[in-house]
Structures are given as C-alpha cells and as structure tokens.
C-alpha cells in the first residue's frame, strides 16, 4: 500500500485531497461530514467583510445528456457572521487535528483589516491561509477578489501586508481571468507568499433561456457574469498550472491545484503537472462528499501499480514534458490504423476526416456495413479519427518516422527543408 498522505509546508493531511473554499466548506456541519467521509482537509469558505447574496446563485452547462459538465455561480464570500465562522473553525480543528484546516481570506483593502482578520483566524486554530485574489464577481466591484489578482502590484502589496502578520503558511489563490497567471504569481512570490493555488472560477455566461431570453442564472429578469468551474475548466486549469510550475520563480513554492477535479485520475494529472495537493469543489457539489472514497482508492492503486511509495515520487513528473512548439521533433510521424476486427462501422472516422480533415480514409460501401481503411500516404497523423472512434483501441496511431534523427523547427528552416508539403 502506497502512502498517500501529504505534507504541504508542514500542514499534514491523510491524503492530498482538500475541499476548495466554497459552499462545501462553509460551516461546521458540512466540514464534519466531509471529514467523516474521508477528505484530507478543507479550505474554509472565504471570510471577510459583510455581504449579502442573491438568488438564484448557480447555473450549469449540460452536455450530451450529462448534467453539470460546467458549473457557474454568482455567490459571494461567506455570508455568515465572522464570530460564528471562527467559533466553528475552532471546534472543527479540535475535533479533527489530523486534517488540514486552511482558512480563505478576503479582507477589505487596507492593512489593518487584513491584520485583524489574520489574528482572529490564527486564534481560532487555522493551520494556513489562502488569500482569495480570485473571486470574479461581486467583490471586484469593491476592489477585492479578482481586482487584486488582476493587478500584480496590488497583489504584491496585499501579500506583503499578510506576511507581516501571519505566523502560519500563506497560499495565494490566483484568478484565471487574466491573459497569463504568471505576473500575479511572481508578484505574490516576491511579496513573500509561501505557496500558490489555482485556479479560481472563470468569468462566464452559461447560456440564455430561449423562452424568457434572460441568460442564466436568473435574478428577477436579469443576470450577471458568473464564475465557471467543473469538468469543463480542467484543461484550462492544467495549462495555467503548468505555466506556474515551469516558471523559474513561481516554481519555487508548492502549488495546490484546483479546477475541474472529479476523479483520482484528474487529481493525478494535476499532481503530475506540479500540484502538491488538489482541491475540489464542483464534483463534491454534484455528487456529495462520498466521491473521496474512490479518489483515495484509485490514487492508491495507481501508485502501487507504478511503484510510487509517496506522492513526492511523482509530483511534477510531467512538467518538463510540456515544451515549446519549436522544440518538437518534426521527423516524428504517425499514421492511423483501423483494426478491422474491432471496427463497428459507424463511419465517424470517415466522415470527420473527409469533411474536416485530410480525406485520408477510404470507404468501401457495403450493405449495411461499409468498410473503412486508412490511406497511409494521405494521413497526416492528426488523431481526429482516433478521437471520434467510439471503440477503445480500434484506431491506433502507428509510428512511421520520417527519419531517425530529431530535428526541430529552427534546424528545419536552417537546412531549407520543404514547407507546406501537406
């Protein structure tokens, strides 16, 4: 059995799975249920100034009959009195000292407010802080949340205020609503943050109701941009994570990865790309806390299979595998191959290649089943057919190198090799 426990700047948890700062971590009753279910830690719902929520608050994107492929909210930070939150944090920490208790903060934009809040939370037993520089709605209008995260200068200043006061590790949570997360991340590291987490939600409109013509979510005939999360955002989160994990400055601090994690596989991908712990919100909101069981078991089995003893054995292993386009090996070429024994003759490979790709699949019409084969000379190895094929391992990509040696774009040009030949 592998050891899946995690140590994030000294904050220990029995597994690397934390619940992200959001409704699942909003009060004692939720958090106790989460710990009972097996979650390794929580980032308590963001605490800060007094606010007021509206209804409705959520909307979602369904796809191909699956609900909540993407999830959107227009909620603000905690709408419960600070004293109650602090008392509950204290109680939960005393009941479950083995779990990570990070408290998310978003104070008013002055040094004193931050210092006051930090003091109160440390007194309540917080083990670490997460600075919410990411909330994309409601708070920005008041110069908080994403408004801080979108301006590296302000971010650095706030991090510095926090570092003056905090005695426990500080994680800065980044907003994805920027052209690149790197500048704010660097500024935060320069300001002294001990760690980074990303991503918060992405500004979005999930859809428009075709009867009322009002976009979702509906609030008395109007709507606003909300924050998007859930499985749909995972690829974007992974990309942003990678930029942080590859940057020489930001890669010096540990990262807590967030955005669309629903299964142990998603979590492992985040960890391979540099996350020490992984945070989850939407998947728990869609299915309940019980998903943690499979996350732990799946991670454990995978680590055993791969021979990893601790999570440190594989964290970050895929970071260097993402390179620059101009460093890719142009002599690498692969060609699709259709296994006729597995083919069910749905024709999707043919029609997609024929209509939208390189007309590389040959069709021999039959009744009722057509036969499809790849025209090797035409195939550019784009993968489209393999992606649309509904049968596992029916289409495989077979390597046919153009030449044995590695050659990249710069050299290709220097040697005057042919361009635009397909």
């Amino acid at each position: 059995m592998a050891d899946i426990s995690s140590n994030f700047l000294g904050i220990k948890s029995p597994n690397p799975f934390w619940l992200a700062s959001a409704p699942p971590t909003d009060k004692k009753i939720n958090v106790i249920r989460a710990y009972e279910a097996g979650w390794g830690g929580v980032v308590w719902k963001t605490l800060g100034s007094q606010i007021k929520n509206v209804s409705s608050r959520y909307s979602s994107v369904n796809y191909g009959g699956k609900r909540m492929m993407g999830f959107n909210n227009i909620e603000l930070i905690s709408d419960r009195p600070l004293e109650i939150n602090l008392r509950e944090i204290y109680e939960v920490v005393s009941m479950y000292p083995d779990r990570a208790m990070i408290v998310s903060l978003m104070a008013d934009n002055d040094r004193n407010s931050w210092h006051e809040l930090i003091q109160k939370c440390e007194d309540a037993g917080a083990m670490g802080f997460e600075l919410n520089f990411g909330c994309p709605h409601g708070m920005t209008e008041r110069g908080m949340g994403a408004a801080v995260g979108q301006d590296p200068e302000i971010a650095k200043m706030v991090v510095e205020w926090v570092m003056e006061k905090a005695n426990i590790p500080v994680i800065t949570k980044l907003t994805p609503n920027v052209h690149s997360v790197v500048p704010t991340a660097r500024a935060s590291v320069e300001g002294g943050t001990n760690a980074l987490s990303l991503i918060n939600t992405i500004q979005s409109v999930t859809g428009v109701n075709l009867d009322t013509l009002v976009p979702n979510p509906f609030v008395a005939g109007k709507s606003v941009f909300g924050g998007y999360c859930g499985p749909a955002v995972k690829p974007i989160a992974l990309k942003m994570l990678t930029t942080i994990a590859q940057d020489p400055l930001t890669s010096r601090v540990p990262i807590s990865g967030i955005g669309g994690v629903s299964t142990w596989k998603d979590a492992v991908e985040f960890m391979l790309l540099g996350s020490t712990t992984v945070q989850v919100c939407t998947a728990a909101m869609a299915h309940g806390f019980r998903i943690i069981e499979d996350m732990c078991e799946g991670l454990n089995n995978w680590m055993d299979e791969k021979g990893y003893k601790t999570t440190n054995d594989f964290i970050g292993k895929s970071v260097e595998k993402i390179t620059h386009w101009e460093d890719l090996d142009i002599n690498y070429h692969h060609i699709a191959h259709i296994n006729q024994d597995k083919c069910i003759h749905c024709g999707l490979c043919f029609i997609t290649c024929e209509d939208t790709s390189h007309q590389s699949i040959h069709i021999e019409r039959g009744h009722p089943y057509n036969t499809y084969t790849v025209k090797d000379e035409e195939c550019v190895g784009c993968n489209l057919c393999q992606l649309v094929c509904p049968v596992e391992d029916c289409i495989t990509m077979e390597v046919h190198r153009v030449a044995p040696e590695y050659i990249n774009w710069k050299e290709w040009q220097q040697r005057g090799l042919p361009l635009n030949d397909h």
Binding site: H345, C346, Y369
Partner: protein, 444 residues
C-alpha cells in the same frame, strides 16, 4: 372442452391486451437514449429501414429538443412512422443493424425513440407538410392500407386530388384489422389515418369494394391514374380432411374479428392448435392465449432455423405460455358431432434444400395425435387471384406483377404493397406506396 367467449373479466382483457411497447416516461428518458446514439455516417440502421428513415438525424433532433424536426424527418420518409414504430420487426430491420450489436451492447431503441417524436406530432396534431395547390389531376387508389395511404400522402403533397376506395368501414388495412391488438389499438389506427389525411386532398370512400361496387375500367376512365394497394386475402387452405369442422378457423378472420369487436365477444377454445410459424401464426397464438385459451400449441413443419417469424416474436409466444411443436405437419382434423376433437400430424424430417434455400420437410411416416377443440390456420395468406385475373392484370399466382416503376401491364394502373409482394411488413408497404406515387407523378 369447448369453444366459447367471455372467458375473462374486463380488467383481465384490458391487462392482456395492453400496449407491449410502453412509451418513454418523459423527455429525460428519451434524451438519455437519444444521447447514446453515435450519429453514425451512412448509418447501417438507416440502410436497414425499408423506408430509409434518416435515423441518426431524427435521434439527434430528439437530443437537441427539436421534436418537430425529428417528427418531420421520420414522417417525410415514412408517413406511417408512428404505426411502424409500434409494429416493425425492428430486430431484423433498423435495430438489428445498429452498430451497438457489434459491440455486444444493446442496440439503440430506435423504434421507441421514433414513437416518442411521432407520438408528440400526433398528440399535438403538428401539421408538418403543406399540400401544394391542386394541379387538377385526379388519382384513384384501391385500399386504404399502408400502401394506399402512403401513396395518397405523397400525391396529395404534390397537389394531386386523391380518392381512396376502401372495402371496409375503417382505414389502415391490416394495421387496423390484422396486426396484434397489443401492438396497436383501433383508436390509434384511426387517429393515424386521420393524421395522415389531415393534409387535405385525400377523400376516402369507405365500404366501396373493387369488383363489387365498381370496376377497374371505371376507375381508369374517370381518373388520370390508378394505384392498387388492396393487400392479400384469406389464409391459405390446408387441404386436409376435417378442415370444414366447426372449430377450424382462419387466422386472418380470427384476428379480424378480434380487432373489430369487443374482446369478450371472441370465441376461443380450451386447447388450441395454431398451424404455421409466421407473424400471423404468432399473433393468432398469443392472442388466443390472451383471450383465455388454456393451452395453445404452435405447429410448424420445419425447425426454428427455418421459421419465418423473428426470434423476438417467438419469445413473445413463449412468454405467453404457448407450446411449440417443431417438425410436425397436420394431416387430418378429427371431429366429434361436427366439432373439432383432435388434430393428427405427421412427424417430419429435414430433407434437401428447396427453392427458398431452406431444407424442405419430408414425412417420417410416423404420426401423433393432439387433443384440441380449435384449430387456427395461419400457413400463409392467399392473394386475390380471382379478382386480379378478372381484370387481366399480369400476376404470379395472384400477386400483381409490376415493373421497376410500380407499373402493371395496364396503362395508368400502378400497384404495390402486399398485393404485389404477397405479404411483407407495413414498412415495406409504405415504401411501395412512395415508389408508386413517384411513378405516378412521372407518368402524369
């Protein structure tokens, strides 16, 4: 032992003849199944539908909540798409070809999805087709069955004035009078006929029989073209001693009675033998059982490998508790005081392949005798040979001969459906009606 009616309570009849194809409970359920469809290219299911319904398209339209579009996709290829979705032997048509079978997974429930969209169209009486202004041409159609109605609808869309002559008092043909009651109800058949004719330009004259109330010559002289879609007639005779005894009935009449009267009025025996293993035999056997017969035995000359019905149909009969005796051929019906008492059968063996390629049954010389009080004959149907001959229509043992363009040997007279193919499925008759209409449009 006796042949009698009123064997069950009203609620038992209702239960026994309830629709065997319940619809999707709600839009979600339909969407889940629709989303399972892979949206195949040049889809095998479509190629295996005799009317070539664009199955992937109509299913995708259910998934995209474009139900009107979905119904239009179905009905523009098959105006009886609603009825077909209840009666098609899909396991040998569309669903039998669905690519999921090749993954050893359940095929898409195409018929159920088809029922979903077409059911909505009928329920809301969506008018999905517009009739072009009348072009002043008149076409007469004989028979308001699937072939006739399908032909009429295409012609009416093109602005032709259609008159259908139907010998019965209701439309729908065997859909109304032949197909098992647990697949389609009389009310459904009637509303489907009304839905089809609601396009306008189709005048159905009921109780008008060709050869009795009017002749083919009259139609030829009064109309610009004639389409014959009068189907096939009674069950084939067995030509064995005792066939005239009280208790020997023809499956088509048995089912006709059952479809046209209250179930409680239909007489059925305690122990019933059904001769044959086609769709009609299965329908007669299962419905005899559902009417309250104690024991029903299907008797077939060949084996399961050669049977004309599908496995699915056979299973319906088995689940209803019908017994099956393979390799048995009736040679005599015995009677007692003019009533059926026994059926004597030859035990058969399979010999060399015959013209149909199936191994033909030959007598083993041994016999057995079954105690029965009712014998239902369902060994194939007989075309209207006499009627067809009397109008000098070229035919093959009563099956009207047509060329590639649905045209008979008589000028301006076209034909299709069971009266040409000798008895296939509703969906084949619908396609024949479309082909006939296309030929007539080219001819006019």
């Amino acid at each position: 032992m006796s042949v009698k009616n009123n064997r069950l309570s009203p609620s038992e009849y209702a239960q026994n003849f309830a629709d065997i194809h319940p619809p999707f409970e709600n839009a979600e359920a339909a969407a889940i199944e629709a989303n399972r469809c892979l949206y195949c290219y040049d889809a095998p299911c479509m190629k295996s539908c005799p009317t070539s319904i664009d199955v992937p398209k109509f299913i995708r339209q259910i998934a995209s909540e474009n139900l009107k579009g979905s119904a239009h996709t179905i009905l523009s290829a098959n105006i009886m798409g609603a009825g077909c979705s209840k009666v098609c032997p899909v396991e040998k048509l569309c669903e039998g070809a669905c690519v999921y079978n090749l993954m050893h997974e359940e095929p898409i429930n195409i018929a159920k999805l088809q029922r979903y969209s077409t059911g909505k169209a009928m329920e809301h009486n969506w008018q999905l087709f517009e009739r072009k202004p009348s072009i002043g041409k008149r076409v007469a159609i004989v028979g308001a069955g699937p072939a006739g109605l399908s032909c009429a609808h295409v012609l009416s869309r093109e602005g032709i004035d259609v008159t259908i002559f139907e010998k019965e008092s209701k439309g729908g043909g065997l859909m109304t009078y032949g197909i098992a009651a647990y697949k389609v109800t009389p009310e459904f058949c009637e509303s489907e006929v009304n839905y089809i004719t609601s396009i306008g330009g189709i005048d159905i004259r009921y109780n008008q029989e060709l050869g009795k109330n009017f002749s083919l010559q009259t139609l030829q002289s009064e109309y610009d073209a004639v389409y014959l879609g009068f189907g096939v007639g009674l069950a084939r005779k067995l030509d064995i001693p005792g066939e005239d005894l009280d208790g020997v009935v023809d499956a088509i009449s048995f089912i006709y009675d059952l479809r046209s009267n209250d179930f409680s009025a239909i007489r059925v025996g305690d122990r019933v033998a059904v001769i044959g293993m086609g769709m009609t035999a299965i329908d007669a056997a299962t419905q005899a059982k559902r009417l309250g017969a104690k024991e029903v035995t299907l008797i077939y000359r060949r084996t399961q490998d050669e049977m004309p019905c599908t496995e699915h149909e056979l299973n319906i009969a088995k689940l209803d508790g019908c017994k099956i005796i393979w390799l048995a051929s009736p040679i005599e019906v015995l009677g007692l005081e003019g009533m059926v008492s026994h059926l004597v059968c030859d035990i058969m063996q399979l010999g060399a392949p015959d013209a149909s390629g199936r191994r033909s049954p030959v007598s083993s010389g041994q016999t057995f005798t079954l105690e029965v009080d009712m014998v239902i004959k369902a060994a194939g149907q007989m075309p209207y040979e006499h009627l067809v001959d009397s109008y000098q229509l070229y035919n093959h043992k009563g099956k009207v001969e047509v060329n590639d363009h649905s045209s008979t040997n008589l000028k301006g007279v076209f034909a299709g459906g069971d009266c040409v193919n000798g008895g296939k499925e509703v969906v084949d008759a619908v396609q024949a009606g479309k082909d006939g209409a296309a030929a007539i449009l080219a001819y006019l």
